[in-house]
Subunit: 402 residues, 2 copies
Amino acid sequence: MSIEFKDVEAAAGRIADGIARTPCVHSIPLSDLTGMQIYCKLEYLQRTGSFKERGARNALLQLSPEQKSRGVIAASAGNHALGLSYHGQLLRIPVTVVMPKFAPLTKVVNCRKFGATVILDGGNIGEAKTKADEIGSKRGLAYINGFDDLAIIAGQGTIGLEIASQAPDLDAVIVPIGGAGLVAGVALAVKKMRPNAQIIGVEPDRAASFMAAMVAGKPVDFDMKPTIADGLAVPKVGRNGFEIASKLVDRVLLLREHDIAVSVLRLLEMEKALVEGGGAITLAACLAGTVPELKDKKVVLLLTGGNIDISTLGRILERGLTYDGRLCRLNVTISDRPGGLARFASVVAEEGGSIIEINHDRAFASDDITTVVVHCVIETRDAEHIASLRKKLASEGFTETE
Amino acid sequence: MSIEFKDVEAAAGRIADGIARTPCVHSIPLSDLTGMQIYCKLEYLQRTGSFKERGARNALLQLSPEQKSRGVIAASAGNHALGLSYHGQLLRIPVTVVMPKFAPLTKVVNCRKFGATVILDGGNIGEAKTKADEIGSKRGLAYINGFDDLAIIAGQGTIGLEIASQAPDLDAVIVPIGGAGLVAGVALAVKKMRPNAQIIGVEPDRAASFMAAMVAGKPVDFDMKPTIADGLAVPKVGRNGFEIASKLVDRVLLLREHDIAVSVLRLLEMEKALVEGGGAITLAACLAGTVPELKDKKVVLLLTGGNIDISTLGRILERGLTYDGRLCRLNVTISDRPGGLARFASVVAEEGGSIIEINHDRAFASDDITTVVVHCVIETRDAEHIASLRKKLASEGFTETE
């Protein structure tokens, strides 16, 4: 069993009154930055902050009356859980979500706000899934897989329909790949409506499960590492999604963490958009030089969601700023006598650096007790600025340690 | 001399090909939060991140050929400088901006990128203005005031035209007030097209220069204090803007810093939008309970700009989280013997708090050298959670100090 274009069209009609038709805006800043004509599909503007609502609503609406009254269950630590909870509430279908114990507090709180029963169980999403299966079969709840249920794939495909009409002469769409449901649905829609448009799938190199499936010819387990694009961290892509997407996707690209971090920063600073790593990765493809053939072309980035914890955001931005050379950490030996710090701080200030954090490390410093190592974080302009600051410090007799 | 509705219409035609017609999107999350039907006008999507481009382009296009070739000058540390620089470059009109010496590095860098001559002079914007006047008259450059030039007011008014067509049955528009140019232009447009719509002006209570002018019956100097809404920090509103706006604005509201900080946080988390304090203040009006009569009404928030330094953003978000009870600082005396910290950390963990920063303070602690004060920052759920954590710590024998 699979789905076709007409299923995506049917999904669009079915979910229309409960889903936002999000804008697809031309971004002048990002176009200037990349040399492409960049259009951003703002899926983070959905009520729960991600595109996952589309599939969730489509799946819920196709349940039998009996299933609707019994309810549904899913294991998810993230956007699928939110989408399902919210539309379950709107449609008066009971929703149970099983989340791993480490799930972010805000997502637990929000699912409960939307009326879902939240069960915290298991140390990872796999264990939560086992628990969800167990509860589901015991209580007769329909399990809704967040990326491989055919109704989910058709629902996500509705983004493709919108893009095709909002940016009619598009040359390419860049789509994030987690479990491959989104890319499958979008490819079905776009390839039918705009056969000449390229579909470029992107995933983190630390969670390259679609690439692994392409190599193996079928979904296989990928040995994942944690990634900033946590929404895409699915160890094995879905069978249905893979079958559809593998035939339609033109290219698959793997992106590195620092490119994703920089993209989160660029989207925030230039597009004023909070986009999670799993969405910002689409911009990363443009910035990392992996799609030079798209220069001057009309490229749509699917900005799939914006659910980042504020504390996580802080850490990602720090990485982005460091990579930009706008933040640097220096460990410098200074005199531990009166005026020692003042002299160091003056040199940094004269060079245009701004010290935003400084700690003295006496216990583990050198044998010379007239000196002390300071660990400091300095705001700078760029890598060149850091180099000139270092040179100046060296010329003034300050030595750096590891 | 003043301007009328037809001048705003003329401006719209004049600037159309160089300005983004930004979306005006219905926000389900913010509607749920406020109990109003909230529409957000996304002016931060302009190329330089703010609405200021509209007026700047309109003013530049109306210069005489001779003035165009000589160029223009303005004093601004912010969005007006960016808008003028960018459109000066597009229209090949030389732009000089005088910024105070403390101006944020990114804004200096960006104005230079757009080809402007940037002069850093003066310790505040008033001193920069004096310098700009001096240079302008010496070199024959036209001075373009960022809020009181009539062409600027007409240009900003084009936002009102767009809103009236994008949200035709609107009940109210909430407009930030700095120098009163934006509110004057928007009011001219909206009151003509939708006479029943209310215009609500908002400003920080620490920079309440419009309110001061309303009280005095004319623009007067307001004794300002620094505000998160730094773009609105104009000590004396413009004469033209005040004359137009004072007749058309239905209400003026003053908002406090913490309400503005919380609004920046809410817009980021719920709308996924980076909005500077001067724009977020429009949401603050809804959240602070100052407009109860707008319940269930269709309310447009002008999200005027998104230019916040990443480091400033961090500080604003911390305040917002603290106000929400999602971040707390505790200074607690613990045992300075092996296991002392472990015991404290366990109690916090058991209560569901997450310690994100901890520092030992030995030198300035009590006389008892077997104990030490730790200063820690803890992530919590809300104010209630903090109270129960404190209670638990007290019951376990930990004492808090100032």
